[in-house]
């Protein structure tokens, strides 16, 4: 599996990568610090996107909108501090496939990824 991890925090990208390993997902990881960089790195080889919401230059929601508008249906998992119900609903409406609220555990990543990858 090849995962694109998008978060403006380098430490958080490292933690998500560690979570993927602990969740027993053997994967190649590509990293991006914002939505613009993520769009540039999103190609057909990416199996799943793990996406923060609040980032400089282009946030997670705009990344989803542009990705879906281009016809790309890659599974997208939000991993964000935005935990209010209306924010979760907004992300899912725009085209996110799953949602994890920080702080997260490796078990939560495993459970949620299993859901969206089987879908």
């Amino acid at each position: 599996m090849k995962a694109l991890i998008v978060d403006d925090s380098k430490v958080m990208r490292t933690m998500i990568q560690k979570g993927l390993r602990q969740a027993e997902y053997v994967c190649e990881v590509v990293e991006a610090g914002d939505g613009i960089e993520a769009l540039a790195k999103l190609d057909a080889s990416i199996d799943v996107v793990l996406l923060d919401w609040k980032m400089p230059n282009m946030d997670g929601i705009e990344f989803i909108q542009k990705t879906r508008k281009s016809g790309n249906n890659v599974p997208i998992m939000m991993i964000t501090t935005e935990g209010a119900e209306d924010r979760v609903a907004e992300a899912m409406k725009e085209g996110a496939n799953g949602y994890i609220i920080k702080p997260f555990t490796a078990e939560k990543i495993k459970e949620k990824l299993k859901d969206i990858l089987k879908g």
Binding site: K10, V11, M15, T81, E82, G83, P103, F104, T105
Partner: protein
């Protein structure tokens, strides 16, 4: 409706949640400080974040050096003796800033269920010692400093919120 007990409970809950889930550390909360006072906190790494919107205020987390280094090491997945503030200031700033962002984000989500809504600023991280945090008795504002114990280390989380005219 906003009251001090709700804010304190929320901050305790979201702080504990982060330390358990992401750092595998157990915290013990102490008695919150709510009276007007100037608190000489023993902290070396501090991260603050602002609230703005229908409610405004902010949150700060005050960490002793040893605990800050343990937290950064846990987040990066490296031994604590490989982490130094002087040699990796960007990682320390990034990690501790993310900590306050996650705690405040959890509080924001919890309080929004009670109609207390605000947006978060970007976090600011400060390295330095010997400063004071003031708790005032502004009747419009609820404020508290909550001490926590993590093993042999003590940290503080300060939070203040008040309604705006929006």
């Amino acid at each position: 409706m906003l009251d001090r007990a709700l804010m304190i409970d929320t901050v305790k809950k979201t702080t504990n949640n982060l330390f358990i889930k992401m750092l595998s550390m157990e915290l013990i909360a102490g008695e919150p400080i709510t009276e007007k006072n100037a608190l000489p906190l023993t902290a070396h790494v501090t991260a603050v974040i602002g609230f703005a919107g229908y409610y405004r205020g902010g949150m700060g987390i005050y960490l002793p050096r040893a605990l800050a280094l343990k937290m950064v090491a846990a987040m990066l997945g490296v031994p604590v003796d490989q982490v130094t503030i002087d040699k990796m200031p960007a990682d320390v700033k990034d990690a501790i800033g993310e900590i306050v962002n996650i705690i405040a984000g959890g509080a924001k989500a919890e309080l929004s269920k009670q109609g207390i809504t605000f947006d978060l600023s970007l976090p600011t991280v400060i390295v330095g010692e010997k400063f004071q945090v003031y708790v005032d008795n502004n009747p419009e504002r609820v404020q508290a400093v909550i001490p926590f114990t993590a093993g042999e280390d003590q940290l503080f989380v300060e939070c203040n919120i008040e309604k705006t005219n929006k």
